[in-house]
Amino acid sequence: MMNKDLKFYKATKVDEAVKLLADNKLKLLAGGTDFMVDLRNEEDFLNGYDGILDLSHIDEIKKIIENDEHVEIGAMVTHRDIVDSDLIKEYYPALAQSAGAIGSTPIRNRATIGGNICNAAACADTLGPLIAFEGRAVLKSANGTRTMDVSEFVKWPYETGINEDEILVSFILPKPEEGAYSSFQKIGRRQALAITRISLAVKAVIESGVIKEINLVPGSATPVPTTFSKVEAEIKGKQLSEIDPKEIGEKAAEEMIGITGERWSTPYKKPALATLFRRAIKNLQEEVANNG
């Protein structure tokens, strides 16, 4: 049963929130779509906390802001906001696709991108694109502000690099370069409300048909989504049209097994991940050819 002595705090400003956090041990509440489930399912979910801090009234972190070189996405931006944002769709289509693939309409209306990353499930759909776009997480506490790469932020499933007195306030994404492409694919057991079985976020920069930059980040393939650096190294600098998508798919599957070892799900994930990589490369080749 929930401890009835817990206090419920509601902040309307980040400054107010970090001050509360400095003085109390508080569990952060964003959209609540994971929080409420965990609260029901986990006996010790709030053990050791003085209370709950509701972030959903802090308007300053509900915005998507475009600067000269970056786009800053507030942590309390919902998946629905991302799906609907023309800016995100234009600059970071893979992020918009991943946000649209999460849960159902009611979930997307409530669930926030900050919550998705702080919950840090291996299957968190927006995590792959944020890593692929080389996003940085902005963390604030009463003592100041620090940033870290999203790829460094998640340490292990359900474990992040956030300190107990910090709030994740936003993500900063560099604006896409000339010749940037991105895509997101997801396999679930049904068409909606499906936990990702395996996914792939891709961001590439193509210059004169050559792969100048490539980030390949599968979801649910490894304990924490990570760039597949071996495959990336294999194709970076090469002529895109000369790459064999099938071979890349197979190498990606090997790279996954290199990280996870053979698990119960490997006989499925191996060919499925190979398919996603193969298709990502093939689609990229087609898209570049069409634009070329």
């Binding site: 396999i187 049904r190 068409q191 499925y268 060919p271 499925a272 398919t275």
Partner: protein
Amino acid sequence: MNDLKQVNKSKKRVDAKAKVTGKAKFGADLKFANMLYGKVVRTKYPYAKIKNVDISKAEAYPGVEVVMTAKDIPNNTFGVIIQNQRVLAEDEAIYIGDGIVMLAAESKEAAEEAAKLVEIEYEELKGIHDPLESRKPDAQLVMEGTDSNQVVHHPLRKGDVETGFAEADLILEREYSTHYIEHAYLEPEAVTVVPNERQTLVSVYGSVQNPYATRDAVARVLEADLSQVRIIQDNMGGSFGGKDENISSMAARAAVMALETDRPVQMVNSREESIIESYKRHPYNLKYKVGATKEGKLTAMEIEAVADSGAYACQTPFVTWRSVVQATGPYEVPNVKTDTYGFYTNNPYTGAMRGYGSPPTCFAQESLMDELAEELGMKPDQLREKNMYRQGSHTASNQKLDNHTVSLQEVLDKAKESINYDKKYEEYSKEQTGEKKRGIGLAISYRGVSLGAEAIDTTGGIVAVQKDGSIILYCGLAENGQGLRTVFSQVVGEELGVNLDRITYMEADTSVAPESGSTVASRSTFMGGNALKKAAKNVKETMIEFAKEEYGVEGEIIFKDNALYTDSGKKIEDFSKVASDAFHSGVFLSSYGWYKAPKISWDEETGQGRPYFTYVYGCQIAEVEVDTGTGQVKVLNMAAAHDVGKAINPANVRGQIYGGVVMAVGHALMEDLGFSDGFINHTNFDEYLIPTAKDIPDIDAIIVENPDPAGPYGAKSIGEPTVELGGAAINNAIALATGERHYDLPLNLERVLIGRDLSREG
């Protein structure tokens, strides 16, 4: 019959408004003064000796009124067929849902906290979790007091299969398996028992599918007279066969605690409790051997079907019996040998679930027919046309089908036409270049209406015309969401010429309505419709007699538009005026209608006879797209043609078809309990996946009408035939798309991509 006013019309559901506005009360909405909240402590292990139970801490918890174990229950066993289900486990737990301790407290929270304080000492034992193991002669026994794990064996023998196989040019032998299916009703089980209320020992309110079965169980457990146990059904948030024995058990527990405390006791399951304790659809292992000539004529079929009964007998004897009758499908086979078994295991117990024994056999047998057609180089529909039942055909039980229209050709043709089968079949049979491949597959079935030789098949109803002309209907059959209130109101409204807003169908109340059998077997429209039609006719005759005398009219009197008319069309009086005049003249305006189903017969040794008095026919065709790189299957379109005899309410019939198809999609592609060694790992809908709106194909629901001579206005059944065809149709469509046949359900990502299932547990 030509100018029907109420029947055969898509009338708005009479209970729709109350439900969509939230006014309708469901089981968990009820509140009684001084009410306690009950809770059950269940076993930690699927099979374990219960060495010690310490309830002292739970008893001492503030707010706890009573804590009880099996020892405190007057009679601990019940069951619809075999009385071996236990209200609470005593010496050993034999499946993961077995309750061991029950308690009631002043609040839900107190009950939950106290439940955590119950200390049970177990000795975990190795159970049997596979019916194929359980059937072995030296297997350990699941059920005390038995000499084998066999619950039932239904043999069927027709002709001589050896001779039949000798005549065959081609013989196929295949094995199939199907898995557990959870009913997944929206509303988890809820019961409130009020002691010493309204002249009875206990009143039981709740989400009860079969009030009389629950009354039998509660009365048996309390060792009380049936007249002292009153079951009143609340609105139901779905049932699908699933709120029978588990509700009986819950009601019995609450009743014992209510009498002990002399206070009302409410019990409501969480979703997890519901999935862990409630019974499921039987998993089946099926072995099929079929012989055919090279022209495609079936010569023999040999079938062995083994159903997992789980820890209790529950309805296994009847479920497997329906499997026997449908095992060969709707085909003329001169030589048949069928053996259907149920065996106890230490698994979740299995019982009635929409389809009742037919979805597993239909899946196997219609998948087999498709493969046989392929082997013979025939189109799937042509092989079926060559062998399927027609007017006057004899079934595997040697029943001659001649008392109703055998409409397989019609349902097949209409479904094919709707989905453009021939063209798509030809197109999808060609080499497909992309990674997403399409396929189309069909399945046909025949299905016996109502209980058949399972049990006595009777239903009663009361039509009570009030002095203002409004009408109250009582019947023992229950509105489970299927639309029975509306259908019954339409039947009575048609007979008495009264609009539906003047008719109220009361909730099932065992102390008021006549015992009518269970609301199962897609029998309600047929049985209850006939009973209430009879009752309405009786009242009508009384009113005609009164009107002739009172108003001095001669000749035929016509009841329509809330009034009585002469045969020349002259209005005599409003229906309400006639009712009022009759009442004040001392005329009795209520009547019972009692309907007994036509005669049937069954020989237990040979499976020969007339198992059902009539049948319905259906055809479903699925069009799918398979992603051969990921294993994802999308059902694009489904054509579903069903002969219902006569649709009392066409919109409701279509609703049944849509719902049945969706359940079949779930069964075929995704539903999975995450079952391993007696444990259920998927205990809520985040993991036990059912189709979402996005997974539902475009469905063309085609109503075929060949009125049955015995049905009310010719009506037969629709609830269950809709759910038995989809599995095979989808499987056959996937086979055409990918060129690979599958024999096991569900056809999840892993099966479709790599040909086998994977599980976390290895």
